[in-house]
């Protein structure tokens, strides 16, 4: 992807799905937006700021305003589903367990998860439950921008449809922007999102 520059603009409350250009390019774009990969060319502004130019504390504050769901490695494998879901609340907001559980339960319910969550590690539950917990964790801080990478690619059609509906509903209520990348040509339609075809 050396030398490729894409112009992508997502406004507040807008849902945009990136298609084409290959998995690696789309992943790199989302990682750049999440502040994980500084662009080698061009200009990147996320919620009005350039992540690469920010000092540590400001970068952390910006990351707390984003929800990021990578294609793999979403959940921390050695802690329970509940600890995963509550992690952003207990890390960024420093919430006590009772308050974190209250907010975590609301996020879990949004994605059809019963509370309390099963006392299990991420590897011990089916992919559909795993992905629901990961999505609930991505929105638990009520982010202004949600970045989703291929989040329905390995799910069954009913699971994918249910999660798309839940994400669309969440984004509408929150007024959040959404940037998703996928191989699935039906995702934009399911989310009711604008689509942008990237041409490498």
């Amino acid at each position: 992807m050396a030398g490729e520059v894409f112009t992508i603009r997502v406004e507040g409350g807008e849902l945009l799905v990136l298609e084409g250009a290959g998995l690696a390019v789309r992943a790199a774009l989302l990682r750049a937006a999440a502040g994980l990969l500084p662009p080698r060319a061009g200009r990147l502004r996320v919620l009005g700021q350039d992540p690469a130019a920010l000092p540590r504390a400001a970068r952390e504050a910006l990351a707390a305003r984003l929800g990021y769901l990578p294609r793999r490695g979403e959940l921390v494998s050695n802690i329970s589903l509940e600890a995963n879901l509550l992690l952003p609340l207990r890390y960024h907001r420093r919430l006590a367990l009772s308050e974190a559980r209250r907010q975590g339960a609301l996020a879990a319910a949004r994605f059809g998860l019963a509370w309390p969550l099963p006392a299990a590690l991420p590897a011990e539950v089916p992919p559909g439950v795993h992905r629901r917990v990961a999505l609930a964790r991505a929105v638990v801080l009520s982010p202004e921008l949600l970045l989703l990478e291929g989040f329905t690619d390995d799910l069954s059609r009913p699971d994918a449809a249910a999660l798309c509906a839940a994400v669309r509903e969440w984004a509408r209520e929150r007024g959040a922007a959404l940037l998703a990348a996928t191989d699935d040509p039906s995702l934009a339609g399911r989310l009711g999102a604008r689509r942008q075809l990237l041409e490498a």
Partner: protein, 255 residues
């Protein structure tokens, strides 16, 4: 290639590794301080203390018993109870207790940390944490360093006490000595330098072992690197602990 070049290259590599570890330890101290205010980080630290310290207690007691058996047999060659007490304290406090506890932490926890972090790196979990604004140094490294330091200090105290107590009891059972007299002689023999030695060898090596393990685990880039990272964590941890213990022994005056 000259002998100097042959010897110099590994020395430079060793020095650069030591600098890297020192930098990691240096960054982990403020990260530990920042993490104290975060419940998520405190939970990882507590888990680490439980795994590295509490769950290792039976093994530490077993090692203490094995060391006490050897010391008890050796002390039987010494004449008076007072001399046997000195011998026991010097070896338990200054050498065997701290080294035994550190080897347990390297074998049980250093290797586990390297494997765990390596697997997390390969599966993309570390990057996912960074994407959430969770600093891996604060959430993954600092709690392991702090947890291992606390756990190794506690295990060292347990090992030293276990060796002295078990050696006294074994001396009574095998040699017909008075366990009470041997214990009393041992306690009276404990000096400031013995305490200084045990403190120096108990407080830093836990952090060192964890720093080596975290460095190796987080350097993994493919699943096939994980076994190598575990081996490097074990060897590196042992070398670091032995080098530190040797340094403390060399610097502290004899009795």
């Amino acid at each position: 290639m000259s002998v100097l070049a042959l010897a110099g290259r590994p020395l430079v590599a060793l020095a650069s590794y030591a600098v890297e570890l020192a930098a990691l330890l240096g960054c982990a101290v403020p990260a530990t301080w920042r993490g104290l205010s975060r419940p998520a980080v405190r939970a990882v630290t507590v888990r680490q203390i439980l795994f590295t310290g509490v769950e290792a207690v039976p093994l530490a007691l077993l090692v203490a018993l094995a060391a006490a058996t050897a010391l008890s047999v050796l002390s039987s060659f010494l004449g008076g109870v007072s001399l046997a007490g000195d011998f026991l304290v010097v070896l338990a406090f200054r050498e065997i207790g701290p080294l035994g506890a550190a080897i347990i932490v390297v074998a049980r926890s250093g290797t586990a940390m390297a494997a765990e972090l390596g697997a997390m790196r390969v599966s993309g979990e570390v990057e996912a944490l960074e994407g959430m604004g969770v600093d891996p140094l604060e959430y993954l490294v600092a709690p392991r360093l702090a947890g291992a330091a606390v756990a190794l200090a506690a295990l060292t105290v347990l090992a030293v006490a276990g060796i002295v107590l078990a050696a006294a009891l074994l001396g009574a059972a095998l040699e017909g000595r008075s366990a009470g007299e041997l214990l009393r002689a041992s306690v009276l023999s404990i000096g400031g330098l013995d305490l200084l030695s045990v403190a120096a060898k108990a407080l830093l090596p836990g952090g060192l072992v964890a720093a080596v393990a975290c460095r190796e685990g987080l350097a993994v880039s493919a699943a096939t690197d994980v076994p190598r990272a575990v081996r490097r964590a074990a060897v590196g941890g042992l070398v670091a602990v032995m080098a530190w213990n040797l340094l403390v022994t060399a610097l502290l005056p004899r009795r």
